[in-house]
Symmetry: C2
């Protein structure tokens, strides 16, 4: 009986984009249940003494990441446009993703948000973009946005972010399988294989 | 006609260990010529404002790396013992590796040094360990060590380290294929595939 794989991601994270586009298909093919876990990287970066993405703080590391994104999106056939703003504010789409994480269309919503950021260079914090994507998915956008920002639902994102810190996360994306952490886009296959093992 | 793959590594680097144990086999299977490029990470870390391995400076990142090493060495069937000293001083074996990099037994020497550090927890900077490994490989250890430390040969390591900085490297291991940089143990397969493409 496969273990559930928790996919912990941040909408501003480039490697989370590539991983988010692949993880549902990988889990489905392996018979591994998937749980979406949106969180905010900012507080985790602050724990490490950073006030920005380390890709901005460390130009050598950043230059490599942007080139790597060109290669990875080509490798996996994903749309790619380097965003004009990096990292983008993501609290609003992340709150919606927390709110709908258990819905059958959660994966579609998450991939649409990521593609808006990294395929179309759009401001995924804007209500216009969020409404458009929710409507395209056949959802009542105003209700979804209002509920996601309600006091009882907006706390979900803070709870996820605190749980991410408590679990030892330091970046994104991550897969957590029965407490075992797999960090990085290139660890997806190992994480899925881990979830298939007897625990 | 495949392009030469340059493998840039540091003997103190855990992920360089896993990669160094695999790269010659991957290149041979793909018909890709391999060139060994030992360098020192310390000066590259200094360029990024670090006075130690970031795995020591950042405990969250470090804890993940040590667990990842247990998993990766299991995955690839490699010996593993967490070294008592990390990172170890490596100038002496790195100078020997530079000196013998074009010899047919360079890969054997490099894998033996890495295994002494990460499989056997031995001080790879000690003359005793270096002599033992060189002798096991049928080499005249005293001559090899003396030549590697001679003024004209010891400059090879500094030249490699300066070339690494100029090429934009920021960590290890790396594959450089016709100027294209692939960083990290998990990028080996992509780097080998890149070397097989028409350039």
């Amino acid at each position: 009986m496969p273990t559930t794989l928790e996919f912990w991601f941040e909408f501003a994270s480039t490697y989370s984009y590539v991983a988010a586009m692949r993880i549902e298909g990988l889990c489905a093919a392996a018979g591994v249940p998937l749980r979406w876990k949106p969180f905010l990287l900012g507080p985790l970066f602050a724990l490490q003494g950073w006030n920005d993405s380390h890709f901005n703080l460390n130009p050598r590391r950043g230059a490599y990441m942007w080139r790597d994104m060109e290669r990875l999106t080509t490798k996996f056939g994903l749309p790619w446009r380097r965003p004009a703003v990096f990292p983008r504010a993501t609290t609003r789409p992340a709150r919606v993703a927390c709110h709908v994480a258990d819905e059958p269309w959660a994966g579609d919503f998450i991939r649409r948000i990521f593609t808006a950021n990294f395929g179309d260079d759009r401001d995924i914090q804007s209500l216009e973009v969020l409404r458009e994507i929710l409507a395209d998915l056949g959802q009542d956008a105003d209700t979804a946005l209002a509920t996601a920002e309600s006091p009882e639902r907006r706390s979900l994102l803070r709870a996820n972010t605190e749980a991410a810190a408590a679990a030892g996360l330091f970046g994104a994306p991550n897969c957590l399988v029965n407490g075992e952490l797999f960090w990085g886009e290139e660890a997806l296959e190992d994480a899925v294989a881990w979830a298939q093992r007897p625990q």
